[in-house]
C-alpha cells in the first residue's frame, strides 16, 4: 500500500519534473516572442562571401557574435530605414550585451548599392552596423540560400526601379548557425527580449 503511494508520488513528481525540465532547459518557441520561429537545435546556414567597404566578408569572418541579418536596399526611403531604426533601438535596449550582437544589412540591389554606399547607409543608423554588397551573382546566391525572394520591378514610366523582397530578418548564433526567424514588423522590444533569451540572459 505504502509502496503504491510512493510510486504515485514519484510519478506526480516526474510529471512536474518533465514540464520543468522542458520549459527551463529547452529553448522552446515558448520563451521567444510569439511571432518568432525558434530553431533548436540550430540549423545550418550557407556560407557566403560578400563585399564590405573595407574588403571581403564571409560568414566565417562574422562568427563569434550573434548575427542579425536583414536584406534591403538603400533606394527605399520608407520601410528599410524603419527597420534599421528598430534594429538600432534594439541594440540600445540590449545595453552592453549589444557588443555580442552584429547587425548586418545585405543589399538586394547590388547594381545601385556599392559596398561603400552600403557603409554610408548603415552608418547613418548605427556606426557598428555592417553593410554588405557584392557581384550580382554573389548577392543572388546569398539571398537564395537564405530564403530571400527578390525581384527588380521596372516602372512603365521609366522612373527608377524598385526591388520587391522578402522582409523577414534572420538571426544566427555565434557559430554561424540559424537560430531565429523574425517576420517583418517585430518591435524593437520583442527583438531585444529574443536576443537576450538567445544569449542566455
Amino acid at each position: 500500500m505504502r509502496r503504491i503511494f510512493l510510486i504515485a508520488v514519484a510519478l506526480a513528481v516526474a510529471l512536474v519534473a518533465v514540464s520543468v525540465v522542458f520549459l527551463a532547459t529547452r529553448r522552446s518557441a515558448r520563451t521567444f516572442s510569439p511571432e518568432t520561429t525558434a530553431l533548436a537545435p540550430p540549423m545550418r546556414a550557407a556560407d557566403f562571401v560578400l563585399e564590405s567597404a573595407s574588403g571581403s566578408v564571409s560568414l566565417q569572418d562574422l562568427r563569434g557574435k550573434v548575427l542579425v541579418l536583414f536584406f534591403g536596399y538603400t533606394f527605399c526611403p520608407d520601410i528599410c530605414p524603419t527597420t534599421m531604426q528598430r534594429l538600432d533601438r534594439t541594440t540600445e535596449l540590449l545595453g552592453s550585451d549589444a557588443d555580442a550582437v552584429q547587425v548586418v544589412m545585405i543589399t538586394v540591389d547590388p547594381e545601385r548599392d556599392t559596398p561603400e554606399r552600403m557603409r554610408q547607409y548603415v552608418s547613418q543608423f548605427n556606426a557598428s552596423f555592417v553593410g554588405l554588397s557584392g557581384q550580382e551573382e554573389a548577392v543572388l546566391a546569398v539571398a537564395t540560400d537564405y530564403g530571400i525572394f527578390h525581384a527588380r520591378v521596372e516602372r512603365e514610366d521609366g522612373g527608377p526601379y524598385t526591388v520587391d523582397h522578402t522582409a523577414s530578418v534572420l538571426v544566427l548564433n555565434a557559430d554561424g548557425e540559424l537560430v531565429l526567424l523574425w517576420p517583418h514588423g517585430m518591435a524593437a522590444e520583442a527583438m531585444a527580449v529574443d536576443l537576450r533569451t538567445l544569449m542566455g540572459g
Binding site: 526611403p77 520608407d78 547613418q124 524598385t162 520587391d164 522582409a167 517576420p183
Partner: protein
C-alpha cells in the same frame, strides 16, 4: 386640377431655385489642411555619386471642406524629384510602388505614414539633419498649392 396642390409645388419650385442660386454663389469646395508633417533625416556623403540618396515626407491631410480633393504631387528644393509612393508588406514581401495621387475625401482625412503612403524625395541634394526644416509645396487636383514647413526628424 385641384388648386390645393399648387401650394406645395410652388414651394418646391422656389426651394429648388433658391438652392440653385445658393449653389452658384458658393459651390462646395475642398478645404485641405496639413497636420504632423515630418521628413526623414538622411546623411548625404560629400563624396556622393551614383543614384543619390532618398528620403520621405510623412503628414496627415484633413479635408474640412464639402468637396473631395486629391493630393497629386509635391515639390521641394532639397530633392531632384518628388513622387508619391506607397510601401506595403504583403505576405512577407516588401513592395514599393509609385501612386498617381492620394484621395482626400470631403470631411475626411488621410495619413501618409511609415510603412504606407509617403512623399518620396528622390536625390536629396543635401543632408537633412534632425532639427532642420524644409519647405515642401503640395499640389492638389482642386485646392490651390499649399506650401508647408516640414521639420526633419530622426525616427
Amino acid at each position: 386640377m385641384a388648386p390645393s396642390i399648387c401650394g406645395p409645388k410652388l414651394m418646391l419650385a422656389l426651394g429648388v431655385v433658391a438652392g440653385a442660386v445658393g449653389c452658384e454663389r458658393s459651390a462646395p469646395t475642398p478645404d485641405v489642411a496639413v497636420r504632423d508633417a515630418w521628413a526623414r533625416a538622411v546623411a548625404v556623403p560629400d563624396t556622393a555619386s551614383g543614384p543619390g540618396w532618398n528620403s520621405a515626407v510623412y503628414l496627415e491631410l484633413l479635408n474640412e471642406g464639402r468637396a473631395d480633393d486629391r493630393l497629386v504631387g509635391a515639390s521641394t528644393r532639397v530633392a531632384r524629384s518628388t513622387e508619391i509612393h506607397e510601401s506595403r508588406v504583403e505576405d512577407g514581401v516588401m513592395r514599393m510602388r509609385p501612386v498617381g495621387g492620394v484621395a482626400v475625401p470631403a470631411g475626411g482625412h488621410v495619413a501618409l505614414e511609415p510603412g504606407g503612403l509617403h512623399i518620396m524625395l528622390i536625390g536629396v541634394t543635401r543632408s537633412l539633419a534632425a532639427g532642420d526644416t524644409i519647405d515642401v509645396t503640395l499640389t492638389f487636383a482642386t485646392s490651390p498649392p499649399l506650401r508647408i514647413p516640414v521639420p526633419v526628424q530622426q525616427r
